[in-house]
């Protein structure tokens, strides 16, 4: 059992099952689920409890859906701000606003 223990929380609804985290995990702690999420993807899940909290998976995750925790203080904690819910959509112009509703899912040709 590694000296540093950690764990990850994955937002499975937003995960796209790209497997990059799985490939990046030095502990082989991750795998794809059998189930699919509501977007139709098999998502990443923690399959072993040997996670060291090394952050590798989080670094390569393109969708930023992995949050990593550790049991031991690293002294870096103050640098890491846990995601706060933020209001993301703004009325940007007197008469034109960009709303999230119009954001397409998946590839768009322009």
């Amino acid at each position: 059992m590694p000296s540093v223990r950690g764990t990850v929380v994955i937002d499975v609804d937003t995960c796209k099952g790209c497997e990059l985290c799985i490939d990046a995990c030095p502990q082989d702690s991750l795998a794809l689920s059998k189930e699919i999420n509501k977007k139709g993807y098999h998502y990443a899940v923690l399959i072993q409890d040997n996670c060291t909290g090394c952050v590798n998976c989080a670094l390569v995750c393109p969708d930023a859906v992995i949050t990593v925790y550790r049991t031991k203080k690293t002294g870096k904690a103050e640098k890491i701000v846990t995601k706060q819910p933020v209001a993301v959509i703004s009325k940007v112009q007197s008469n034109i606003k960009v709303s999230v509703d119009e954001l397409p899912e998946g590839k768009v040709n322009l």
Binding site: T7, I47, T71, V88
Partner: protein, 262 residues
């Protein structure tokens, strides 16, 4: 699985999505490097506490929707004109941070003139250049950086020099310009290169603060959809085929060409 660990709130969070990224799920294809670059860029902006002083420019390309994800003021630019738009912003707001985020089609095809002249003027901006060797957004056509022999929808027999010319190493050209202060080529497909990339971004913003001039970070990246591969295949293919043509590393630091380069 995690049953042996203490409950989450007794743990220390060592990595979380930066607060400068919105909660909007990204529209990129699974495994696409754009997402990683967005994430790191926003992480650096958060860490440097410059969210309120940064203006981004997203021209046309898969990343045209970047402003849905980046929680900063942003302008959408016409295809190829990001460097000009960024120049316009920066010249009016010289004390703010300005970056553009451009694909290879945008930066190295239609925007060649604007790209090179912004560098030559030494515009004090940061340009993030995603080189995925293809036009992702329009469905997989050849890009200027498409490597020889590579099949795309417009080079069905593979890119050949006769009609299509050579893979265009614009980053090498830009490094030669006296106005360019920091020019580097990075990637984001493994944890280590992501760490490198983050350092490069941090450095570039610092240079911009110090008014050193033009900084360019090329990111050699994948396009699983355009290349018709799985994300993992695409990263492997990228290492094997793109890195030889586009080797990673710094080309110019502190206004001086690196050894490697010459």
């Amino acid at each position: 699985m995690n049953s042996e660990l203490p409950p989450l709130d007794s743990l220390e969070c060592v990595w979380a999505k930066p607060s400068t990224l919105t909660d909007t799920p990204m529209h990129y294809c699974p495994g696409c490097g754009h997402g990683v670059v967005h994430k790191i860029l926003m992480e650096v902006i958060q860490e440097l506490h410059i969210q309120s002083e940064t203006i981004g420019v997203a021209p046309v390309g898969c990343s045209v929707f970047a402003y849905y994800y980046m929680d900063i003021d942003m302008q959408e630019a016409a295809h190829g004109r990001a460097a000009a738009v960024a120049t316009g912003i920066k010249r009016m707001l010289p004390d703010k941070y300005v970056f553009s985020y451009q694909g290879d089609g945008d930066l190295a095809a239609i925007g060649t003139g604007e790209t090179i002249h912004a560098a030559n003027r030494g515009e004090n901006i940061l340009v993030i250049f995603i080189n995925n060797a293809i036009y992702g957004m329009t469905g997989g056509q050849m890009a200027p950086t498409t490597i020889l022999g590579m099949k795309t929808t417009t080079t069905p027999e593979g890119r050949d020099t006769e009609t299509q010319g050579f893979p265009f190493k614009i980053t090498e050209l830009i490094a030669m310009l006296p106005g360019a202060y920091y020019v580097t080529r990075q990637a984001v497909h493994t944890p280590n290169v992501v760490r490198q990339f983050k350092k490069a971004v941090t450095k570039a913003f610092q240079y911009q603060k110090d008014k050193k001039g033009y900084c360019l970070i090329e990111v050699v990246s994948n396009c699983p959809s355009g290349w018709k591969m799985t994300p993992l295949e695409s990263n492997k293919w990228m290492e094997q085929n793109m890195f030889p043509v586009y080797p990673l590393g710094d080309l110019k630091v502190d206004g001086k060409l690196t050894e490697k380069k010459s």
